[in-house]
Symmetry: C2
């Protein structure tokens, strides 16, 4: 199961098997970059499968997830999502009423972000060959028209490895900004699946992030963006650190976590930094624009809890955290997301 | 199971549920067209899931199928495939050696057609939640540069509903041309799955059709193209007849079928017209260019058995066949492909 959990074990499967066989294409941003999406002929392409269990959970369902996840991955690399293709794989006997509910949710989310589903495919597997229902959601995007203007500020005294928002773009002194609280999605799904009766109702944050992302790019100075999905913030920061060959120091106290999520994690012995999110974005921003990007986020719906949580540094080359009790600890790349099948 | 079998039952699921909820996007070729792929901002987008059982069969495997199927759908609408995105969903415990074999086959087929896999996604489902392994393969393409030149001939005295190769483009007197024998893929998969010991070894025709398609477009006069996958030739001709509001008359004797496939169908009580193919293309061609397109096909590998099998007619509005024993019979839209999970 760890091979699908978004951490270092999955990374190794992808590098030793998938990239080994399929890598090497000469395109703008290839598979080998292992970034959020690929770029070919100036078009962004992304594909994701969704196997979340249960199919509905507080704050979302597999349909909302399938639209948001693919749209967000296109946004994260600097794309402007244009359209989606949806492949449905259905277990024989799956209820048409449940299918309709999921389709309605897809349509509602697609309308919310104005990215239509324009093609699809349906396959049915015999009873017992599939646990109910999975979706593959693919999308294309063009280069975000805000990107050039965003990079003007980012390029002042700053070398970029790419004029897309790649994981390899982070440079010393860049501020690390997160758009809101972490852990909500993973804990909401886990709680719905296992039937935990937490005192506080925890809702998934699943949402398309187009407005937030465009607001940040208008503020300018963003060099990298990524959503902390499988493997959470810990995995995201380690990917940036490794691909940008730089250290990242974050401040535990500044990382927003809802009280209910914090206590659920304590109760279950989970590290909130490793829990997956589906409606948050993390950006690395040139220091001169960090306050402007933060202010832009805070002024927007879903950005109220945004915070600067740390910065990149050339003093070391790993991810470390100043803890609330004082002292520093290393944040390792998680082996995988501790909660399986959250997306 | 019929809901996934590519015939009229699946058509009804798609129209009454999927198009009902997700249709209506204003793009060049939308979901509502129910064609081989969609077109947005001049880019072709296609997504397909592959659930074939068994994963390997004579003449191919799920990897070759996943590349060929998506590449072919992009070609069929008039696209020139640029790149693929692959989503893998794997059952916990699936052998890494088998995964490597499939990845090798994907790479080999992608290299053969020069369409790289540039991004992907991997999910793992727990043991028992998935029958081994499924692939989602999505792709993008640009408009085939041969299309304008092809349409010059097609437009002489001929109105087109679209300058893409849509199902709705077929007009009276257009010749129906097939690139080779039918039934090979479905019978090969069925035989591998059920362990039938047919006297003749039957091989799947799974292959990307880029060279064949481009050869036909160079000959010119092609107005519609489609690959006879789920539901076979019978489903394809009925889709054309319905969407173009025209009759189609085919000649049984001229439809190429390998002897082994014919006798397997007789033995199993299957109608070869309804069996799925994965390496064949059917084209509707302006009468003046039909011989040129046929000659172009016959001169190419995989096109040796090409034949003109009939023509469109305004005398009636359904699909009929002149049988080998004389007389005509109606070819109905099949309820579904008689062989499940062939792709």
């Amino acid at each position: 199961m760890a091979h699908g959990a978004g951490g270092s074990v999955m990374q190794s499967l992808i590098e030793k098997h998938i990239v080994k066989h399929l890598g090497g294409a000469i395109v703008d941003v290839p598979l080998d970059a292992l970034d959020d999406a690929a770029v070919v002929h100036g078009m962004v392409l992304k594909s994701d499968s969704y196997t979340v269990k249960p199919l509905s959970f507080p704050g979302g369902d597999i349909g909302r997830l399938a639209v948001s996840g693919t749209v967000n991955d296109i946004l994260m690399i600097g794309g402007d999502p244009l359209a989606l293709a949806m492949g449905f794989i259905i277990e024989e006997g799956f209820s048409l009423a449940e299918l309709d509910k999921i389709l309605e949710s897809i349509r509602k989310t697609a309308d919310e972000v104005r990215v239509p589903v324009i093609t699809g495919d349906t396959k049915v597997m015999e009873r017992g060959a599939l646990d109910k229902f999975v979706i593959n959601s693919s999308g294309i995007g063009q280069r975000n028209p805000l990107l050039d203007q965003n990079f003007v500020e980012a390029k002042k005294g700053h070398t970029l490895t790419s004029e897309w928002l790649l994981d390899s773009n982070v440079r010393a002194k860049d501020k690390i900004i997160i758009s809101g609280t972490i852990g909500d999605h993973g804990i909401a799904v886990l709680s719905a699946r296992e039937g935990y009766g937490f005192e506080t109702r925890i809702e998934s944050d699943t949402a398309p992030l187009k407005s937030l992302v465009n607001g940040m790019l208008r503020a300018g100075g963003v060099v990298a963006m990524k959503d902390p999905t499988r493997g959470g913030l810990a995995n995201l920061l380690n990917e940036w650190s490794q691909k940008s060959k730089i250290g990242i120091l974050v401040d535990e106290q500044s990382i927003p976590v809802k009280e209910g999520v914090r206590s659920a994690c304590e109760m279950l012995g989970l590290d909130v930094l490793e829990i997956g999110n589906e409606g948050k974005v993390v950006a690395a921003v040139t220091p001169t624009r960090a306050d402007a990007v933060l202010a832009a986020l805070k002024a927007m719906p879903r950005g109220e809890d945004a915070a600067i949580i740390g910065e990149a540094t050339s003093e070391f080359d790993l991810v470390a955290m100043e803890t609330v009790v004082g002292g520093r600890r290393i944040i390792p790349s998680p082996a995988g997301d501790p909660v399986p099948r959250i997306c």
